[in-house]
Symmetry: none
């Protein structure tokens, strides 16, 4: 191989602690697509003088979170920004669901994503989502299943939303290499959970007993008279950001999923409120205590998923108004970017590259004079993998020594 790839081990070897501070502001679903009427994206439509000023003083570009053409989920999008290969560190569905509800996974726990579903008198699935039961019903049914002890394994069942729940298996010797019971189809029976390695037979056996028991407990709860499980997985071991980067990192995020992802990479998760202003206030208050801040703002992604172009514009403008508060803290490095694009036009995550701006005293400014998809495309950072964002932030914070003599 003649192409260089920088491993986390290499970064460990050149990262040094220093007093300089980095703020990574992640605007979830930042990238958009033009409104056919105006030819302008949400970001291009928004009046964001402070971000434009920062783009002018800084250097800009666009990132590919996973790869050109690949639409990332939230986990790969964030892991990439934290510098972890999102393909190598692909996190299981069960763990993600658990993280998403702030469940405190212990080492050894195996989590599975569960659906309440409907089966007919022959045991065949007729609705994989049990008619999307209410959140209240989900909570009630989860409590019925919660806390069973099967062969010395405690099964913890927590409601997520509608038909969704998390089942966490806690006990000795549980290995998550088991198949799903969810057939992902209707008209067939739930599948038996099979061990995919000999070590996994204990979990398979416990999980099948849990499902059988659930069928009995739920018998009278039509349409939610059965469960489907998938994505059995264990809390992955990721080297922590302090090991790799020698940072003391903190996360400020109002949604549990992002707090969970930050915890996975060893950030300290700070208590904060639900608004953008709350999050910036938390940043200000805790600013002396850490040297890296991951600040996550969710709203623009939700607005994109709802197809609400104008709400996205408004959120960008609201974020812009908080930027003077951020710059007044004088961080050595400010990075503003997103974990993926969520164009209102597509009502969902998309593969489009994500604008990024990096400001530091050492950034070598380019000609970009505004923060937008189009302007960033011709920025000095070019188009690059999001996994390199941390390297750039660290370099600009003068926290990386020379590689090689």
């Amino acid at each position: 191989m003649i192409n260089s790839t920088i491993s986390l081990e290499i970064i460990k070897g050149i990262a040094i602690p220093s007093p300089s501070k980095i703020v990574l502001l992640v605007i979830d679903g930042l990238g958009g697509l033009p409104d056919p009427e105006t030819g302008k994206t949400e970001l291009e439509t928004a009046n964001i003088p402070n971000l434009d000023r920062l783009a002018t003083k800084g250097i800009c570009g666009v990132t590919d979170p996973v790869s050109p053409g690949i639409t990332p989920g939230s986990a790969p999008g964030h892991l990439a920004l934290f510098g972890y290969d999102p393909v190598a560190f692909n996190i299981g569905r069960g763990v993600l669901e658990a993280i998403g509800i702030d469940f405190d996974l212990q080492p050894g726990d195996v989590a599975a994503r569960g659906n309440f579903c409907t089966v007919d008198e022959n045991g065949l699935v007729t609705d994989r989502r049990a008619g999307r039961v209410s959140n209240e019903k989900c909570t009630e049914l989860s409590q019925l299943l919660d806390g069973q002890l099967i062969d010395n394994v405690r099964v913890l069942v927590c409601p997520v939303r509608e038909h969704r729940f998390v089942a966490v298996f806690r006990g000795e010797g549980l290995v998550p290499e088991v198949s799903d019971s969810d057939p992902l189809l209707i008209g067939v029976a739930p599948k038996s959970i099979a061990a995919l390695s000999p070590e996994a037979s204990r979990l398979a056996s416990v999980a099948n007993k849990f499902v059988a028991q659930a069928k009995v407990v739920l018998a009278e709860h039509y349409p939610a008279n059965m469960v489907l499980l998938r994505g059995f997985s264990r809390h992955p071991h990721l080297p922590s950001m302090s090991e790799i980067y020698k940072l003391k990192p903190a996360a400020i995020a109002s949604y549990p999923m992002y707090r969970g992802l930050a915890k996975l990479v060893g950030m300290e998760v700070l208590k904060t409120g639900t608004t953008i202003e709350d999050e910036f206030m938390t940043l200000k208050q805790s600013y002396p205590n850490y040297d890296f801040f991951f600040l996550h703002i969710k709203g623009a992604d939700n607005a994109g998923e709802d197809g609400d172009f104008h709400r996205r514009v408004g959120i960008f403008e609201q974020i812009d108004s908080t930027i003077p508060g951020l710059t007044s803290l004088e961080p050595d490095v400010i990075v503003v970017t997103g974990d993926h694009s969520t164009p209102a036009m597509l009502k969902g995550h998309s593969w489009h590259p994500v604008p990024i701006l990096l400001y530091s005293k050492w950034c070598r400014p380019d000609r970009v004079g505004e923060f937008s998809e189009l302007a960033c495309t011709s920025g000095g950072l070019g188009r690059f993998p999001a996994t390199q964002v941390m390297l750039l932030a660290m370099a600009n914070a003068l926290k990386l020594i020379k590689f090689g003599a």
Copy 2:
């Protein structure tokens, strides 16, 4: 490693069938070099208003087929465009020659590239190409060698052009790990073909007997009084494009080499004529029956190899005039690119990156207003490996679901 690599397995996991249609128009040898007089490349000299319009509405960039600095052959150039790593899937010389003459290779066949050559009375090679015998002579001599049965192996010999032929060994238990007989030098004897693995000894033995027999048959045919063989290889197994991308792909190409490469990746090869207009007519007629079309246009590469700048300009203009017929079909995604550059100035393939334009409803247009090397270099797709072209096409056709949760 902090950079992600997307494997074909990952793509398989996120590709979904859908009614949307992709047209991949490959202009062989598309990229060029400026005429020193005008400072403009062939493409920049050509009057191509329709391609310029498509570039304006779409997003542009440049690709590296194999790597910056690497001049690709036709096979790597095309495999990359189909999304296959051209280094991992390197196709043997013998198989490529067979494909190039439309030879219908069977599973188990081993193909070798052959040269008629000249040896002196001591058996030493004096001319590796036998004075470049005529095509007629090549056909006549090939027929003399064709069809022998050696140890239950049938040896099929087909003329290619001038001194070139293909020898296909058909029989049980043939393993292609054998050395070449072609010494690639003059003044030495042809080498004995050696088995490079124990399983390959049967093929080595048969091939040596074939060479010995050829020497006898050709004894009176000076200067073509001997043969040299190289590049023993078997039809490689490539996962098909329908397996990977869930597409129903069709190929439209007037040259056998490209039809063969398309067949290798599981495309259905459509019958077509020899002109650009024939190919576009075939596209139109078969348009309802497939969801992916590889349309290959050869002329600009030949003109480049001939060093004929103006013929290249004319071919680009001719292609341009067919573009309205293409856009009137309203494919969901149109990609126009090349498999490599063939600048007239260099009279051959070159390493220069290749312009690409992608048009779809979801492409996020850039500022590029014309289809040229210079304009594409500042396009929104940036500079990227050609192996990512299919991912982008698939994403823009909304045929890829989210990666990771």
